[in-house]
């Protein structure tokens, strides 16, 4: 019968092939990314140089001087502070809002499904374009929002142009663009939660708030973590919205890392300082992402039964 012959013809190297297969599968993806590691290491090198394109005679390796200079540079600390503030503010508010909306839309119904797709629209508007939209709407002369706000009596509301409201305005745009992302993740999470624990709780007469905080939220935790991870790290690196809305102003009000680094490079051609700034940002990001991924892996272990 054919079976015997096919067994004979079967490659004996099955075990070896099985060992190699995962590497074969993952290597192309890795290689494509590795290519990007080269610029990364270049950046590390540049960050340790006095390197301004327009002062070529100053070029030289200075070890960590760029970083040491940061320590005494109020502008740098301002950047750190603003970046973190911006990140925590946006992500915090987006989480709250996204969670709220996801809870509102939790029951799968036709209406809720349509609303949830509609609410994705802002996410599909490129942040650069969304900023443009909001700039139009907050234009003090013809902007609809300025007009509406003036009807409410705030005729002097300056949106992104005033230091006291610039952060608020930019955060508002960030919330507008990215809350849908969190919403859709959490909605997916809520909808995939098993029903039985909630039925059990309903039967036991446990109060809604008790259920929400003790059961729903913890069960949603992996989703919340993923959403926070992706958003927080993107938010701390925010560029598009801030650059388009205010270019970092007014004053140094919104000088976050990437805007500062962009200006340092493209306008001041200060490669050393620019890359050093980005390295600091990378370190912060990496540390944060590590914390989150560890936490996420821990939860995953638990749900997969090894906890």
């Amino acid at each position: 019968m054919s079976s015997t012959s096919s067994a004979l013809a079967a490659p004996k190297s099955g075990r070896l092939r099985k060992k190699i297969l995962p590497y074969l599968l993952s290597l192309p993806a890795l290689l494509v990314c590795i290519g990007i590691l080269i610029p990364f290491f270049t950046a590390v090198y540049y960050s340790m140089m006095r390197f301004r394109l327009n002062l070529p005679y100053l070029k030289g390796f200075i070890w960590f001087d760029n970083y040491i200079n940061f320590l005494s540079d109020p502008a740098f600390w301002n950047t750190v502070q603003i970046s973190l503030l911006y990140a925590f503010l946006t992500v915090g508010l987006e989480l709250l809002l996204g969670l709220g909306i996801a809870v509102l839309l939790q029951q799968p119904s036709k209406f809720n499904n349509i609303v949830s797709v509609l609410l994705l629209l802002p996410l599909m508007t490129a942040p650069a374009l969304a900023s443009l939209m909001w700039k139009l709407m907050t234009n003090p002369n013809f902007g609809i929002l300025s007009y509406l706000v003036s009807l409410l009596g705030f005729s002097d509301f300056k949106w992104a142009s005033d230091p006291s409201t610039a952060l608020l305005t930019v955060v508002l745009v960030d919330i507008w663009v990215y809350t849908p992302f969190i919403m859709i993740l959490l909605l997916a999470g809520l909808r995939s939660l098993p029903k039985q624990p909630f039925e059990a709780a309903a039967l036991d007469g446990v109060p809604q708030s008790f259920i929400f905080f003790r059961i729903t939220l913890p069960m949603l935790m992996p989703y919340l973590l993923t959403a926070t991870l992706f958003r927080l790290l993107e938010s701390i690196q925010q560029f598009d919205i801030i650059y388009s809305m205010t270019q970092g102003g007014p004053g140094d009000q919104l000088m976050v890392f990437q805007v500062q680094a962009y200006l340092e490079f493209f306008q001041y051609t200060n490669v050393g300082r620019s890359t050093a700034l980005l390295m600091v940002l990378w370190a912060i990001t990496f540390a944060l992402s590590n914390v989150f991924i560890k936490q996420w892996l821990r939860l995953r272990e638990r749900t997969h039964g090894n906890g």
Binding site: V115, A128, Y147, Q237, D240, L278, T303
Partner: protein
């Protein structure tokens, strides 16, 4: 179940109404704006009553805008095409590279496996400029400056980690027994992968693909720094409406509307996958 009192229902309705208002109003307003002339837009106070005009769309689509300063060439449709081409190529490439890798991480525990996975994922968290700045300094040398290839490669930074992350989790949620069953039926690994694993992971792949498409489409800074005019996507191209002879608000609006349309259509099409695809897998943990 789920018996809500009337007051609860009204409360929910009001909340939902506010949410929809906040998220939809800007889009609605820009939509209206796109049918107005600059003059109408600049009216003070703003008004929602106007005589709609198609000149903005006409200008964008024909690529010619008549102003007092002469005829302006607008490459908007080219930009739109660039966006479509760049985003879909980038996502396709990411899928081709990322889905097998995601499968490997999901199914096999191999030496360095987690490290490789984390390395790829961590690219998602590297500040884009950190990579871009050095790249501008020597993209020229490796012959990738101002090529679609170069851009698509850099776009992998956005799309690949996301696809890997979501699809991996999705594969993990599929019972390996189903794959084993197909192999035991006498099919090779590749056949099994193509006929069983991928079809079963389709919602996850679709959701990941859609999300990364959206992010690729929305990208601004990569294209801004690396692309020359003829390779530029809409995000950068839309800035062209700011001209010395005035800001073409109507066209900006029309441009925004047009640029959102393709992703919206895609999302509508893939909507049922989105929630389903995200609910399993990665995110879930």
């Amino acid at each position: 179940m789920n018996q809500l009192s009337t007051s609860q229902r009204v409360f929910r309705g009001v909340l939902l109404g506010l949410v929809i208002l906040f998220f939809m109003f800007p889009i609605f307003w820009i939509f209206l704006m796109s049918f107005q002339t600059n003059e109408q837009i600049l009216r003070i106070p703003p008004s929602i009553f106007f005589e709609p005009t198609l000149i903005n769309y006409q200008a964008l689509i024909t690529g010619r805008l008549e102003t007092q300063a002469g005829n302006l060439d607008i490459a908007f449709m080219e930009n739109l095409w660039n966006s479509v081409f760049l985003s879909s190529s980038a996502v396709l490439l990411s899928l081709v590279l990322g889905v097998p890798a995601a499968y490997a991480f999901a199914r096999y525990r191999f030496r360095l496996g987690e490290d490789i996975a984390f390395t790829i994922l961590s690219f998602r968290f590297a500040p884009p400029l950190l990579v871009l700045l050095p790249l501008t300094l020597y993209f020229e040398d490796i012959g990738l400056s101002n090529t679609y290839t170069g851009l698509i490669w850099v776009y992998q930074l956005i799309s690949l980690p996301l696809i890997l992350w979501i699809v991996r989790g999705y594969f993990e949620d599929i019972s390996p027994d189903i794959e084993s069953a197909y192999r035991l039926a006498g099919h090779s690994w590749l056949q099994t992968f193509l006929k069983i694993s991928i079809p079963l992971a389709r919602p996850g792949i679709a959701a990941a693909g859609l999300l990364s498409f959206i992010f690729a489409w929305n990208n601004f800074v990569f294209a801004l720094v690396l692309a020359s005019a003829d390779k530029q996507p809409v995000t950068v191209g839309a800035l062209a409406f700011v001209t010395a002879s005035g800001i073409q608000y109507g066209q900006i609006a029309a441009g925004i509307v047009l640029s959102v349309t393709p992703t919206l259509l895609l999302a509508l099409y893939a909507q049922r996958y989105l929630v389903e695809g995200l609910s399993l897998g990665a995110v879930k943990g």
